[in-house]
Symmetry: D2
Subunit: 131 residues, 4 copies
């Protein structure tokens, strides 16, 4: 489990005064890339292994809005690794009061450079081990 | 059912050379707002009625990547209207060959200005009727 | 001179209720890519020639705000072509009343795949001729 | 002078493999809002004073590209405060090697809620004092 922090800027909000719904998926990615780094690696290394992990499914449940200047704590963890796919789940909380603002997931395929699905190599599985 | 068209710009792509996964939710919004317009209305009128339709859930299944310069056809329709919530479903196709690139949905609550859930007013239900 | 049309979505606005300042540069790109298409070409062809036109300078003067649901008319034209660089200028108007909302420019270098500056090839100059 | 740090995500890059040119203006905003916070305040307080500081001009000179996973150091400082306007200048460096990737500026008007220009109140000038 890894926690990334991000401060909401004007550019993340919309005219309702809250973070635009699509932007939470950017926060998810931020935490996801921190997850790889936390194991001493980086998503760059996945690419060096000749593999990519494109998103094949993404979803988010919105409970309460984030606002300008809020510091968000974005928790990411790998909750499933199968032969050729893996799942990250996320939780976004407001740092000041700990309120959970949304939860979500992304499911990824493991593919070669030519786009064909392939088993996740052991080197990458190590980067994904639960922590 | 309404179809919006959008051309993929550089700013929509990422370094994999494909549209970044979060951006499809922007395309969904584009088609959603066209949906309101197609009934002679606008989401602005929803707000004038003192109602808002914040997204409470969003999801997308990605099948094939969209690329720079592709023209995308984004189909939106309302597939469920209940007392205080409604669901849009989406399909994104590449115009040139008709390939379905992704499908998705957004679920919306109907709330008053103070954020409390409320029955969707008849004036808004009319804007949402199947077509 | 080429005119692109774009409708402002929620995702383009910020909590001031107006289009976020960085997003005008996305609109500029939209019109810029239409400019190439208008000459029967595409920026893709520039890349096929083994050239790229990265932005080396960008600026925008904001006069009046664009709002949700506005249709914007984005005019682009090439105002200078020199050996290894070219300049696009832009004007964004609201379609409903013709008000000029901002003006801007982008200056581009012509580089090879290895990043070295190079004279703009004649095939590309043709795509850029005043119209 | 204030320095903000930001790590480049996939969503910030484009298919050239570098940060999309419009996104630097988002980084500028991040550093700008840190600038207010560094004086013990926040841009929120500017708004509480009934003032807004909309951007009236923005520009950026791009020298070298930022890439995925780079940590960027974004320096912001107020370089001019006049009666009803102020200027921020920015410099973005890559943290790993210190290379300057771009420089830029934003000029802001000080306006009341009704949009009319007004002298910058002393409370706000204090937040902007050179440091």
């Amino acid at each position: 489990m890894v926690e990334a922090r991000v401060r909401v800027i004007y550019g993340d909000t919309d005219q309702m005064g809250v973070v635009y719904y699509a932007n939470y998926f950017r926060y998810f990615e931020l935490a996801r890339s921190d997850y790889f780094r936390a194991s001493g690696g980086s998503y760059r290394e996945v690419e060096k292994e000749g593999r990519m992990l494109p998103v094949v499914e993404a979803s988010c449940h919105y409970r309460a809005p984030a606002r300008y200047d809020d510091v968000l704590v974005v928790r990411a963890e790998v909750t499933e690794v199968r032969g050729a796919s893996l799942t990250f789940t996320y939780e976004v909380r407001r740092e000041s009061d700990g309120e959970v603002l949304c939860t979500g997931l992304t499911r990824h395929a493991c593919v070669r450079r030519d786009g064909r699905p392939t088993r996740i190599p052991d080197e990458i599985v190590k980067l994904l081990a639960p922590r």
